[in-house]
Symmetry: C2
């Protein structure tokens, strides 16, 4: 199994609308990507106790059987998903493709 992670690095002054992301963007992603996605995880970064932002505003993970499964699901809807990003953030996400080894 593979995980495609989308990480949003916090930068000073950056914007991230958690409610839009959780309530609109992620449901849209799940609907558009469809059955190729076996599991979705979303974590929202907690500020440190001193108020310093977390390294990442959010980290999202899409679990799929193979990278090809993900790419076949993503490619036809990439434009629609990417056009939605400015509605919740000005952070350029980092994309990581990993092999799931534990968990």
């Amino acid at each position: 199994m593979v995980k495609v992670s989308v990480l949003y690095p916090n930068k000073p002054g950056s914007r991230f609308d958690i409610e839009y992301y959780l309530n609109t963007h992620m449901p849209m992603s799940a609907r558009l990507l469809g059955d190729a996605i076996k599991a979705i995880t979303v974590e929202i970064g907690r500020p440190a106790r001193g108020g310093e932002p977390a390294p990442f505003a959010a980290i999202c993970g899409f679990t799929c059987e193979t990278v090809d499964d993900f790419m076949n699901a993503f490619t036809p809807v990439a434009g629609e998903l990417q056009c939605d990003i400015p509605k919740y953030t000005d952070i350029e996400p980092v994309i990581q493709i990993s092999d799931i080894r534990i968990g």
Copy 2:
């Protein structure tokens, strides 16, 4: 529930011994941290098809009920865990504390 993520950013020339990490360091972490940890995930970054390294060599996640549960488990064993890091990598990990919102 919260997730404590440990991310190892790839840098040119950096070293990461996947087998030591999976077979020695992670079992040691699970044993030392004990029952406070409700789930452990490990993903190993895949190089891109052109051979470019993934943004992160590895991403590990510890799921706990609360940040305090994690800190109470981690603090007494932090030295032992941190001393083991040079055995598998010269990358300084990034620590992220998140609220699990989906998954």
